[in-house]
């Protein structure tokens, strides 16, 4: 330590003063790309965690975006409607899953709120980063579309410019919309309920994004039955149509209807941005302050804790959780699923868009059944729902590995437990009991309601039988230690793609199950599945039990 020195006042003016706004933007972009936590890392090693994932996601989005070439020689409006609907889905998923972490970070209050920056400046910088990354994603997906638009039946060289403008507007609409939802929740329901409201808001935005993404399917399904074009009055109710109208009025048919849609889009986007950044900005400041309050604004719900304790002390849970470490891990995960803001914000908005799919499929199937005068649902939708829900534990266990308090998980390594197995096992059991079981009950009820005396209900069995295996797969190599990884590593730009992957796998398995059902092999399928699941489950379980801690570098 050198001798104490007096800090001199700043020199007169040795250079231009930097802009705090730019500094904030640079800060939040860096934090987004590197993540907010790092342990034992050199600077060179930091960005690989999130940045490289994002780069891979962009490449995959660009590949998926090549589907736009299917719209060659079709009208600009049809192409743009497809592109904007899909973009809105991807961006909605991304913004919904990322915004909670970006907008409301607990540590940030101690670091930034006593600096001379306004909440509005913080908000602008954060939204700027969300919009910037959204534009990277949208740009990657729309690359093919930019070219395809030039070759549209009424397209031309102006299309890439028009589509660029409309995509930027769409990204701002999406980010501004999410912020507005948060702020309205804060204003209407108060800051005491912020945690629950943020989760609810993100769940709603995620579901809205999935439903918005259904527009291309609607297009295909109702082609010929409904006048699904720019002149339909109701199309102005669909946000993607506003931005498609902007494309069409600049670089397509240039019809008055497109112009009207474009004007609606511009007005709605402007209103949302005004609401988000001007009218409701004070509510954001309130929300930020809530993050820094150390005194509990609300007492935790003791009843929930009592319920968990009571249940886990009674048969059959007392037997199922007879190993103390597994039981402790189960209670930890169950408590966090109910109480922890960070975990709730990651898990429920991450799962909700996935869970809405089976419901969409069942309800669409019901619509088709009614149209053809059949009272029951088709076997495929039921089998798909069962298998799809069976995969939920995989995603949930993955999401539960991340936490802002990840360093606290060092406790598990310090404890006299040889490996991560019991902790993973507790997580697996909590996911099965707290998340999956209620969902399954809900689905069974829904199917019973949608299809009277539904004979296809047994088609849920392939999914249910595979449940323990899927859950065990999530714990492979002891990788499912709860809350042991920094939350930034769960960056969700690729979640939309994961969902598509799971849907495709579920679809294939559901086709196999339906075929077996139709051709009378269903019992054999179930029997074979039981053997396969047991044959895989037991060695996987043994492997998990024998797994040992790896060195924490």
């Amino acid at each position: 330590m050198s001798a104490p020195a007096i800090v001199p006042p700043p020199p007169p003016s040795p250079g231009p003063a930097p802009s705090p706004k730019k500094a904030l933007h640079k800060l939040f972009l860096t934090l987004f790309l590197r993540g907010r936590s790092a342990r034992g890392l050199q600077k060179q090693g930091a960005p690989q965690s999130v940045g490289s994932k994002l780069a891979l996601t962009l490449v995959i989005y660009a590949a998926v975006g090549l589907s736009a070439f299917a719209f060659l020689r079709k009208p600009v409006f049809a192409l743009s409607l497809y592109l904007h609907a899909t973009t809105l889905f991807f961006l909605g998923m991304f913004v919904a899953a990322s915004s909670g972490e970006v907008l409301f970070n607990r540590d940030e209050a101690d670091i930034l709120l006593h600096r001379p920056v306004t909440p509005q400046a913080l908000l602008w910088a954060k939204i700027g980063v969300l919009v910037q990354v959204s534009l990277w994603l949208a740009g990657a997906f729309n690359l093919g579309g930019f070219v395809a638009g030039v070759g549209a039946s009424d397209g031309g060289w102006l299309y890439p410019i028009a589509h660029l403008v409309s995509t930027v507007l769409e990204a701002m609409f999406c980010a501004g919309g999410v912020v507005t939802v948060y702020q309205l929740c804060l204003r209407w329901f108060g800051r005491e309920r912020l945690d629950s409201l943020m989760t609810l808001a993100q769940v709603m935005v995620g579901i809205a994004a999935v439903l918005g993404g259904q527009i291309p399917q609607l297009l295909a399904r109702f082609q010929g039955k409904i006048d699904f074009n720019v002149h339909s009055w109701w199309i102005c109710l669909l946000p993607p149509a506003w931005f498609a109208g902007l494309d069409d009025v600049i670089a397509g048919s240039r019809s008055a209807s497109s112009g009207l849609l474009a004007i609606v889009g511009l007005i709605v986007t402007a209103v949302i941005l005004w609401l988000a950044f001007e009218k409701l900005a004070k509510d954001y400041a309130t929300g930020l302050q809530t993050m820094s309050e150390t005194a509990g604004a609300k007492r935790p719900k003791e009843a929930r804790r009592r319920l968990l304790d009571t249940l886990s002390n009674r048969v059959p849970l007392r037997w199922w959780l007879r190993r103390p470490v597994t039981r402790a891990s189960f209670l930890l995960v169950a408590a966090y699923l109910m109480r922890d803001r960070d975990v709730k914000l990651r898990v429920y908005p991450g799962l909700a868009p996935m869970l809405i799919w089976p419901f969409i499929m069942l309800i669409q199937d019901r619509g088709s059944a009614r149209a053809s005068g059949v009272s029951a649902l088709s076997g495929f939708s039921v089998a798909f729902t069962g298998i799809f829900l069976g995969m939920i534990p995989l995603l949930a266990i993955d999401l539960l590995r991340y936490s802002q308090q990840w360093q606290a998980a060092d406790l598990f390594r310090v404890a006299p437990v040889e490996g991560p197995g019991p902790f993973c096992d507790g997580t697996r059991r909590a996911v099965l009991l707290v998340l999956t079981l209620p969902l399954l009950v809900g689905v069974v009820l829904l199917i019973s309601l949608l299809g009277r005396a539904n004979a296809h209900l047994p088609l849920l069995l392939p999914g249910i039988i595979a449940l323990p295996l899927y859950a065990m797969l999530g714990c492979l190599r002891g990788n499912a230690v709860p809350f042991s990884l920094p939350s930034e590593e769960a960056k969700s730009a690729g979640r939309g793609l994961k969902m598509i992957g799971i849907m495709m796998a579920s679809g294939l398995l559901a086709v196999a199950a339906t075929l077996c059902w139709n051709y009378g092999f269903f019992k054999w399928l179930l029997l074979g599945e039981v053997f396969v699941v047991a044959g895989l489950y037991l060695p996987l379980r043994a492997s998990l039990t024998s797994s040992r801690w790896t060195s924490l570098e």
């Binding site: 330590m1 050198s2 104490p4 020195a5 007096i6 800090v7 001199p8 006042p9 700043p10 020199p11 003016s13 040795p14 250079g15 231009p16 003063a17 930097p18 802009s19 705090p20 730019k22 500094a23 904030l24 640079k26 800060l27 860096t30 934090l31 590197r34 993540g35 907010r36 936590s37 790092a38 342990r39 034992g40 890392l41 050199q42 600077k43 060179q44 930091a46 540590d107 940030e108 209050a109 101690d110 670091i111 930034l112 709120l113 006593h114 600096r115 001379p116 920056v117 306004t118 005491e192 302050q289 820094s292 309050e293 150390t294 005194a295 509990g296 604004a297 609300k298 930034e488």
Partner: protein
């Protein structure tokens, strides 16, 4: 320099700070003490603009906390108890970011940062190459203290600043804040290490349950209450009775 007028903060039904009124002149080092949950951190967070008071107000350097929040923030440095930093920035990136928030030109910021590096015996390579998440607790605390003083504020709030600092750094730090006070800066120092407070501070303010319990020079207060040390006075005032007997009884429960 700092003036609190019936400053109050409630969280739901719980009153964390209850109509606190104080005057702190320039150049004073004030020990701000209280048991856990007394409202110290909440008061500091209100005075630094992190939390909005429920009622009452305060002014710092003549600027009202509620009306001129940004001007207050320009004149205040704060070392929070949490010592939170953005762990995925290097130390230098973090300090440059903080400098930019106070509109300190890059060259001036670099020069100031080098002074602090020299004072705290940090290596410039560590500051440029290592992410803050990889720093030891003490090194991180040094960066947080640097970030609080970088803009040369006339008022500095320290909330457990010695937490994580080694003995040498702690000695240097104590000398630093005394010198800063002689230069006219106002230092508010919140800590549970009472012998340090007794040696460093010109004045001690003790609060409990959000209310002012005692205010005065440490030696005068100790003498007036006949408690011998500030630590004993603190336990007398904040209900810490029979602590030694309770500790002995508890320790006996560990006997095999």
């Amino acid at each position: 320099m700092i003036s609190l007028q019936k400053l109050t903060k409630t969280f739901g039904r719980q009153t964390a700070v209850d109509a606190l009124s104080l005057e702190i002149p320039a150049g004073q080092i004030v020990g701000f003490l209280g048991p856990n949950g007394a409202g110290k951190s909440t008061t500091l967070k209100m005075l630094t603009g992190i939390l909005t008071p429920t009622s009452g107000t305060a002014s710092i350097c003549g600027f009202n906390l509620l009306d001129d929040t940004i001007e207050v923030k320009r004149r205040v440095g704060f070392v929070p108890e949490s010592g939170a930093v953005f762990e995925s920035l290097t130390g230098l990136e973090y300090l440059e970011m903080v400098a930019a928030l106070y509109a300190i030109p890059a060259e001036a910021a670099q020069a100031r940062i080098r002074q602090f590096i020299s004072f705290f015996d940090l290596s410039f390579e560590t500051l440029t190459d290592k992410l803050l998440g990889a720093y030891s607790k003490g090194m991180r605390r040094k960066v947080v203290i640097t970030a609080a003083l970088l803009h040369n504020p006339p008022v500095v709030f320290f909330d457990e600043p010695l937490d994580g600092l080694d003995a040498n750094a702690a000695v240097g730090f104590k000398a630093l804040i005394q010198t800063l006070a002689h230069e006219g800066k106002t230092i508010v120092y919140s800590s549970h290490i009472l012998d340090v407070v007794e040696r460093v501070c010109d004045r001690v303010i003790i609060i409990d349950k959000g209310r002012l319990v005692l205010d005065g020079r440490p030696d005068e207060l100790v003498a007036a209450h006949g408690s011998g040390t500030l630590e004993r006075l603190f336990t007398q005032l904040t209900g810490g009775t029979e602590l030694e007997q309770r500790a002995q009884d508890f320790a006996k429960t560990f006997r095999p």
